[in-house]
């Protein structure tokens, strides 16, 4: 039996990789995909806890996280399409009108 901490370690690694990608990538679509990666890291932690506590609630949380991720992806990609249409770029460094 794999101990709980190994599942949590995998979850942490995925979360940190997603966070790193969120910062280093400049393509907007890649950034949204990195957010999905982070969400998946958290989902794994939920399911591992659900298994090791013998409690089903963690899996329901994953269910809701997946629903929210789908909504987030739909809105995020719509925003990306709007930005592309108005500014003709996908590069985050060209979208800086709110920067000081």
């Amino acid at each position: 039996m794999v101990p709980l901490s190994h599942y949590l370690a995998l979850s942490a690694i995925l979360f940190v990789l997603g966070g790193a990608g969120f910062i280093i990538r400049r393509n907007m679509i890649s950034v949204v995909m990195c957010i999905e990666l982070m969400l998946n890291g958290v989902n794994l932690a939920f399911i591992a806890f659900s298994r090791f506590r013998g409690n089903l609630d963690g899996q329901l949380f994953v269910f809701f996280v997946i629903v929210v991720a789908a909504a987030e992806a739909a809105v995020g990609l719509a925003i990306i399409i709007a930005v592309q249409r108005n500014r003709d770029t996908l590069d985050l460094e060209d979208v800086d009108s709110m920067k000081l």
């Binding site: 790193a20 393509n27 013998g54 899996q59 789908a70």
Partner: protein
């Protein structure tokens, strides 16, 4: 089973590294699908069959198709490399490593990796999940439907032609 977990974990980590390494979004998306499928296998090993199926159908199916669709629609090519600050390179990797080490230390101190026998696995079948969902989590379920409605409206309004 133990070996399968480590294979899936290695696959997920390698694919996740590829997601953040690739400059072309399509390659990132394909690597992300590999991560999602590897995680679905891990969910199966954890006894969460329904979640594994949802992961493949909704995540690797619907959401990633949406991503690939938008990548194709916008013709997203390679990121152009440009001058970046040196500070980011020299500070970024140690900071990320430190953050990961911090989480791992917290996990290790809280849940030491001993082979303790866990309680019996919860019943992850659709029937059990549906019962719990419609008994204890009815309100979040209904709120989720409003969330999806708002998201659909928002997506339509945002992606409209004249905006």
């Amino acid at each position: 089973m133990t070996v399968l977990f480590y294979i899936c974990a290695a696959l997920a980590i390698l694919a996740a590294l590829n997601v953040i390494r690739q400059r072309t979004p399509v390659y990132s998306a394909l690597s992300l699908i590999v991560v999602l499928c590897a995680l679905a296998l891990v969910y199966l090993l954890l006894g969460a069959e329904f979640m594994a199926v949802i992961q493949v159908i909704v995540y690797a199916g619907a959401i990633m198709v949406l991503f690939v669709f938008v990548i194709m629609l916008l013709n997203a090519g390679k990121e152009t490399s440009r001058q970046r600050s040196r500070l980011a390179r020299w500070l970024g990797v140690p900071l990320v490593t430190a953050f990961l080490a911090e989480i791992l230390i917290a996990v290790w101190s809280q849940f030491p990796p001993v082979a303790a026998s866990p309680p019996p696995p919860p019943d992850g079948s659709p029937a059990a999940i549906g019962t719990l969902l419609f008994r204890s989590y009815v309100l979040p379920f209904e709120v989720t439907s409003i969330l999806i409605l708002v998201a659909v409206l928002g997506a339509v309004v945002l992606a409209k032609k004249e905006f």
